[in-house]
Amino acid sequence: MIRTKYIKHSLNSWSILSFIFISLIIFPNLNILMNLINKPNENWTHIKTYLLNDYIINSMILVIFTGILTTIIGISLSWIISAYDFPGRKFFEWGLILPLAIPPYIAAYTYNGILDYTGVIQATLRNHFNIQLSQKYFDIMSMKGSIFIFTIFLFPYVYIITKSFLEKQSAALIENARLLGRSQLEIFIHVVLPISRASIIGGVSLVILEVLNDYGVVKFFGITTFSTAIFKTWFGMGDIDSAVRISAILLLIVFAILLIEKLFRGRKKYSFSNTKFRPITRKELKDVKGILAFLFCFAVFSLGFLIPTLQLAHWSLMTYKKILDIEFWRFTFSSLSIALLSAGLIIIIAIIIANYCRMNDNFLSKLYSKTTAVGYSIPGAVIAIAVIIFFIALDNKLFWLYKLIDKNSSKLVLSTSITMLIFAYIIRFLAIGFNSIESGFEKIGKKFSEASRTLGMNITETFLKVDFKMIKPSIISGFILVFVDILKELPLTLILRPFNFNTLATKSFEYANDEMIHEASVSSLIIIIISIISIYIFNKASDKEAS
């Protein structure tokens, strides 16, 4: 067969590197799952009998209620913004994405600060109105509080995807329904909801994965979920086997969610269609209806962005003189440099795998692209455990080499270095870079590289001279997205950072955890400002592409 000959020939640096990277992603995670087969220890019986139910129930309550509430808020806002015109619509169209710029853990301690006894609300009521209310009305550190935080700061996932779908792909159907004499409410229920099913499910599953990934909010609010349980079992009980077992169960739950998402979505994809589209003709909302639409958007915008940002800005003004010392600049620098370095590496790896996948339409390329995507669904705590175990094993295997280089070398070299953290970032965020690069490749198609091949350039030369220049915008937007995500990242950085290494995110969290909420504000605000800039750049780039 000629194909065997061809396969041998197509074994080049792109395919070999892709294979190595994918194996490095699969191996640590597979190791976690394999642990389920091993016999559990005694501690596990205790966890299973007394604790596991709580982890499952708490995580499920968070997931289900956040899922329902983000769906309601996300769909209603996307419908109002796409189908109606009212005062402030243009501003809210963009402004309602901004809650994504505030990581939920920052929102959690900001709201706690706003609502606690010395916070702005209670202080104002007490000092100006002489009103003292029971503390129970202000207790956000609860299950309800967590659901509130997740809902208000994660609903933009549903909003963005559904809005984009409604604006780009539904005009003809909605207009037809109008001509057939249906009321706006009927159109919403009978047309909008069913046709946007795929995009809603896409958005909600992102929300659910974010909730399962979260460590900061639930840890701060003292709620036991899978994430906190993994940490507690390991660091509190010193039982790594059981921590791995909990991770494996969480991993199975995540896979089940991905499977359910696929089943529910059916064959439909929520795609950001790139073809020319006709927007829906917006209906103008006048008088009371217009004011109500404005108020609804304004309320969500205020809760999700304005209030916490103003509060953080106020605290920053109070504390910046104390905070801005050499130590602050040191961890700002390390935060930015590790995010830049990791984002750079991720983009390079994403390019290698994406280029291999588009050149080869076979089983391996499909497996590669699915594996890269799965990384983003795996919660940070699970990746952290997987990576530590992998690196400790690696250190054990390489000890002879360390000894050869330095006689007094300790046994743990890689697992106490920054490499381990960067490796974990790669597993977690590769999907974001990969999606961006892959869509760039999809847009240019294969004809330019084919033309280049027939003109005598090999795959690498073709990539450098043709593809790279043509997908530059995708490379840049992929880089920005990954950079910001790493800058905000908390659970992986908390567990895997080397001794004395801080980032803006870990420092904010540490301050907040030490009851120094005001001090946490400056670094939190920097994270938010950088996120806003990146959202703005990204939004501009997508608008430009769509037009």
Partner: protein, 224 residues
């Protein structure tokens, strides 16, 4: 025989049937051959297999007595010395006309590249266009740039995939004449695929009619 193709079989992934079945043909040096067929007949696939962009399951191709593919040999596209003009030209949008044409001349030095650029621009009547970008050209001019780019590295064979499908009807007749003139002047063995009998009549020395991946007729233009 300058080009010899024997027993070529090709099947696209997920396709039920073979796109090419026992495709066999031979071409003399300097001949212009047209492969005529309806869409889906496999005619573009023949070009993709000859250029190395697709890999057949069976068969043999020899160009100028050199085997480029058989059961033992597989030469990658960049080493085949086959020039190809794509259906929508595939001119690199970030490069000027000059850069597009010089793209395939990587083994030449600067002066040789400039000389060859001048030669091919002269051949396709586009002198003075080297600084323009593809989007600044008309459809007919873009096609001539694509042709010049494919001819510049002096390939052993020129493949043209539906060279007229992207042009207005009025322009087609004019360009057909022009294309034939350029190819004859360059003296290069060429294979072009088309679904239009008139194209074949106007340009080809030899016509191959393809249906569902099989050759049903071969001969000069009189068979049409």
């Amino acid at each position: 025989m300058y080009i010899e193709i024997k027993g070529l079989y090709f099947k696209y992934k997920n396709a039920k049937e073979e796109t090419l079945k026992n495709f066999t043909m031979s071409i003399e040096k300097g001949e212009i051959v047209s492969i005529l067929g309806e869409s889906g007949s496999g005619k573009s696939t023949v070009l993709r297999v000859i250029s190395g962009l697709e890999v057949p399951s069976h068969g043999m191709i020899k160009i100028n007595n050199k085997t480029i593919i058989d059961e033992k040999e597989f030469i990658p596209p960049e080493k085949r010395g086959v020039g190809m003009v794509f259906q929508d030209y595939a001119l690199f949008p970030h490069m000027t006309v000059g850069q597009n044409i010089k793209f395939g001349l990587k083994d030449m030095n600067r002066r040789e590249k400039l000389n060859r650029l001048k030669e091919v621009l002269d051949l396709v009547n586009l002198e003075g266009f080297e600084k323009r970008y593809p989007y600044e050209l008309s459809g007919g001019q873009q096609q001539r740039v694509a042709l010049a780019r494919a001819l510049a590295p002096k390939p052993s064979v020129l493949l043209l995939d539906e060279p007229f499908s992207n042009l207005d009807a009025d322009l087609q007749t004019k360009i057909r004449e022009e294309l034939k003139k350029i190819i004859k002047k360059a003296g290069i063995t060429s294979i072009f695929v088309t679904h239009d009998k008139e194209d074949s009549k106007a340009i080809a020395d030899k016509v191959i009619i393809l249906k569902e991946g099989e050759i049903i007729k071969v001969g000069d233009v009189n068979i049409l």
